[in-house]
Amino acid sequence: MLSVFKSIPTHMDYKGQKLAEQIFQGVILVSAVIGFIYGFTIQQFGWTVYIMLAGFTISCLLTLPPWPMYRKNPLNWQPALPETSGETRDKPQENQKKKKHK
């Protein structure tokens, strides 16, 4: 069952990771400030905790799954070299070495 979870793609590119971190830090700080002011106004600390938990849930939904906005700057990998041209380059070098030994 675990292999099903491991096969779901969850990667983000680097700019996406930075964006995700900024988003969740911003959401949690904003919900903390709102919660503190509301709790102080009605003099119940329980509401501060509830608003913080709501901010935590919102930022989980926004940043944990790999939304498309985090994949806008993919890395440009070089194209892979084909296998056959590598082998032919090795063979002429070996012939040259044998001639020098004689």
Partner: protein, 180 residues
Amino acid sequence: MNTVLSRANSLFAFSLSVMAALTFGCFITTAFKDRSVPVDIQVSKVMIKNVDDFTGPRERSDLGFVTFDISANLQPIFDWNVKELFLYLTAEYSTKSNALNQVVLWDKIVLRGENTKLNMKDVKSKYFFFDDGNGLRANKNITLTLSWNVVPNAGILPLVMGSGHKSLAFPETYETAKSY
């Protein structure tokens, strides 16, 4: 931050740090408040007996019986950092053998959200008012005060004495063979 677990770890740790900062903020806004309110205590019946005290070193000690009324408005003490109040009524006096005696006669827990106007009439003491010896008889000055322990959500637990006290005197003679 490449995997879900690493992002979740970072998110959760940040939330906990912010939560700790909010709790500290809650403590700072209420740390220096004065939590004393005026208290009114009246005494309706005072009696004294001389009985065997099995917890003390001597044969017989004085046992006092006090019936009292307490009224106080505790609403100004409750704020967003107070979880409950532990009230206790103390009797303070001095005798020939001890300079200072303090005995707790009665206590009560008031939770946040319960009725905060305290108006109790004809309350008998919850705990025995034993003296360390025979110093209660004809003692002219026994002071009753109501104090409380403030239990906060975050911070220090102060012991606060209410303003207002009642002095009473015990009679000269013991009651004999009379049920309370």
